[in-house]
Symmetry: D2
């Protein structure tokens, strides 16, 4: 079966998903486009034989030529669009965040539970990265014993000098570790703290960069996450889980080793696309396969609950950033509907 | 455009390509099946909605529902099938070898030249491997200066105790290095020699395993290729090019590093599929894209000429194995038609 | 010149230093022995031609055949012995801690200042490790820009189930990082905090293992130090400094890489001796050279001030461990006498 | 006991050994100096309290203040000096080569056998390198099964444009691998061949650089040794033994890993001193210890037989270089006197 996808929001990430569906993955096509910028929607649709544009997200969702909806609009619009797709009974892939506010995420869950089946996948793509998956396999196989600690680093070469705030280090960057550690350890995050190391002179004047986010899992596993958005040297995502009998760490991802000028070594990715492109491919292929099969995507597919949990932890981390205090995560009980 | 592929030969490799076209890649479907074992053809077709079976390869090639042909039959049948596809004006992807004998390869080239356009891609997938591509990029960018030497190792954990001969170490295994070094260095191989190290007691009694194949490129670049088919510890393909100012080597491909029991390290692939699956995906996607575009696949797509050259070098290497002597490669002039 | 060393305390570490002076290093000999266990002193002296035993540390220090004193007794005895050596005008190498209490360290400094010249080297051997020295060289050369963060891990395979307390994780283990980061960054530590991750079931029931110690340097550089005394898999000391433009990390120290059974990798040291034996050799050779030259050992030799600073930070860290609060380090001004 | 060493030949290597004995190692002193350049001998002796100079090597050997002799003169003088030291019953450490010609080596063996005890250690220091020793330990423990192949590379950044001949690539450089593979595998080399890859444009016009030397061990183990004297990028000695069930390779020797400018990696040694200084220290300490103990140095100490065998293999390799033919090594039977 070919899954006919309607795409809401065709900025950078939306266009990248369209390229993925039409040129890389199997089993999908893009049949409808909506964007707040109608001209941009038209331009994108022009490059897609058979695709139509819709004046509103609602129209797109209602289109009979749309089997499933991909939401890549800006965060504040997600709730209305995702709830509408659920209302139409159509599977929806929603880029992160599911919604910026945790209560909006709860309303999405309520709509989904009312619909009676799981229709939402959130775009936390790290669960589909070969490195994290191998790490989880080692952990789950008991290869390092019970986990005790995890050390993470999330380094970007740079962010624009204007428009990227300290809060966004948490909400845009750390949210990836927030989701992936929940998945790796199979448990919720109980509390968050934020440490402020010496600031880099390469960061914008009003930005606290780097930060260290501490996350306490329900079991006591402690995660420290270095977030450094102006690390200059490359895009570098690191992780090491320390268990009772050993450790497992993400390996460097260079294809070749070069020896020149008294150095040997490999390359560091230039950006997130370079590092995670295959994970983006895999998450969306998994979604297309599940839609085609008429099922919900199973593990490791992130659900609305995962989107909600990420929002709740983000709230706590932002408060910890503001107050300088360790902050407990405030979360609802996990509904049976979202049992693993 | 969707490329409708007819598959000739549905043994292990043929079925794997079908899985690839139908479940992994974009832009293709499998519409026709032929196999010398009609029952097997039927079974495979049964799992493919809309696919028909054909009693003969000729019938499949003639089928209007077949835009392009994938030949995965046994080697001796390739010539007739590939020539027939050329005769029908249909693009053909032919698993290696293009043909076991170099004169058969020449007849394929003659047919293709008579047809007036390039229709054949040979299944040398290493050119599509991320490691070899990064290696070639470093070389071509001048990062290590002019190449002088290359060290290769090609290790399989084991081969069946019966049926895998010493000759096959050259014709089945070394042929991958034979093709890839021609591509890496952009030149032909002038001569071959074979060295016989101490035999492994794990090899079949009549098998000289490991072997070392020496290849002399036209420019004088010397390639040594350790071929070890019963290496036990894993599937390990290694390569290092030594240039005038540095070297570039394939890196290890482990996703994670584990520390346990006084060891740190990563994994070695278990078999060729584990190591090269993405290269197989990429070669066939490249072919589908080219067919859809109505063009010949360009670089790095291996042509009939590449299939012929590999056969000619294989002949020389087999004679070197028999005689113990350095053997010059006997090759025709490269027709303008196959100019890069 | 041959430096005649008197050794106070011939337990494990004292005997190891004697082996070092007599069998590995140049320019020293052991001429006198004292130990609270006279029988042990006699046994050790019996293996050293020309060495005498002394009933008290004071007698040993007064011996004309003793040019310099090595103190390897238990910590509470250090102050009296070191002060006595200073009083006798003899150079003294004192195993860490200089003294368990920071005020005792201050009294040692007072004695040394009264003597008018630097006579004391403290046994913080990591400053002499090739890894840390290379790390400091990269940092000091500006290779990674200004430092912002450092991640450390200090893992022992195990400690005895009785007798090793949680406090000792700070005072015996973390003290090595406390000294080495002061040296690496060339500044004092301003505050300490302690985090309590999930406990390992392999640790003694009353032991909080692992711990994370956070150290804030005066400049704001933040150091996180994972201390894990029952890590099982080996003795593993890790460190990565994150600077404004790059990072530098201790490399793995395996001599060979082995490929077997689908794994490739190297070894992890079995214990601290295996990892740091050359650093112990180098610190003591540096001391012997300085004594022979009649000078104080210069950089990186740890002084009484360094011993005092380590004690003051240890005090703060122990209070942080007890209270769960971030604790400012309380330290005297650095006397001009101890200017770098 | 302090070993009083007389040094014959105080060029670069001789002076380096003097520095080693007087400033690094334990148990030795330098009491006598001889050099063909008397002025140089005087200058070196002037820096050594108590050392005298001798007009001839014979005089130095006869000096009662000389317990043992270190020969670091030029190769053609070795035979006479070593035989004289043997005649005086004094242990002698002789830099490689023991003698340039294999028959001279045989005369040395004859003198030593006549003396009735082993008095000679040859300066093949790689046997004392931590990497090669770890490699041999893995091999001897059966960790990779029976050895079948070994791949070596021996790369220097550059050699002077004049005075370093192609023959010297064998006699000066490859001789290190010739010795170390005999030691690693515990057997003799049966035959040698030389391959001539494409020449580097960075080599002197009349120099064939790089070369590949093939060595066939008596058991059939095949060693390929890339010798590249103008490799530019650093001093890089590599080795991998391939066994029936696994491989063991020399690891890179960088103390730290640096991440900057989209690269991660470590350093390559700048020259042989940087790479092997500890092996030089260890070989000479082993010799001093054996002399002090009045015994011959045992394993891995290279004997006169090892010096002879290296000369015999060098002869075969040089003939292979001249003729282009595989050349059998011509060697005498190993006398019982030199049984392991």
């Amino acid at each position: 079966m070919n899954v006919r996808v309607g795409v809401i929001g065709v900025g950078m990430i939306g266009q990248d998903h369209i390229r993925r569906i039409t040129q890389v993955l199997t089993g999908g096509s893009v049949t409808a486009i909506n964007d707040v910028d109608a001209a941009r929607a038209g331009q994108v649709a022009a490059g897609l034989p058979g695709a139509t544009t819709h004046a509103t997200a609602q129209d797109l969702i209602a289109d009979d030529a749309v089997d499933a909806v991909l939401v890549a609009s800006w965060g504040p619009a997600h709730e209305e669009q995702v709830v509408a797709a659920i209302g139409a009974g159509k599977p929806v892939f929603c880029e992160k965040p599911l919604a910026p506010a945790s209560d909006a995420c709860q309303r999405i869950m309520a709509a989904e539970m009312a619909a009676g089946r799981r229709l939402v996948q959130v775009g936390f793509m790290r669960r589909y990265d070969a490195g994290y998956r191998a790490m989880k396999a080692v952990l789950d196989d008991g290869g390092i014993g019970a986990p005790l600690l995890m050390h993470c680093a999330h380094r970007n070469p740079s962010v624009p000098p204007y428009g990227f705030t300290t809060d966004m280090i948490i909400s845009d960057s750390a949210v990836h570790e927030i989701d992936v550690v929940r998945w790796l350890f199979g448990e919720e995050i109980a509390a968050a703290s934020v440490l402020r190391p010496r600031r880099s002179g390469r960061a914008a004047a009003d930005m606290q960069d780097p930060l260290v986010l501490l996350l306490e899992m329900a079991s006591g596993v402690l995660v420290d996450d270095e977030l450094f958005l102006n690390a200059q040297y490359g895009y570098d995502v690191r992780g090491e889980i320390v268990g009772e009998t050993g450790t497992v760490a993400l390996a460097d991802v260079s294809e070749v080793t070069v020896r020149t000028a008294n150095r040997h070594g490999g390359r560091v990715p230039v950006d997130w696309r370079d590092r995670f492109i295959r994970a983006y491919d895999a998450e969306l292929q998994d979604w297309l396969n599940a839609v085609a099969a008429g099922t919900s995507a199973g593990s490791p597919s992130p659900s609305s609950w995962d989107g909600y949990a990420a929002a709740a932890v983000t709230d706590a981390a932002l408060e910890a950033l503001r107050t300088g205090q360790r902050t407990a995560v405030s979360m609802a009980e996990r509904p049976e509907f979202y049992a693993k």
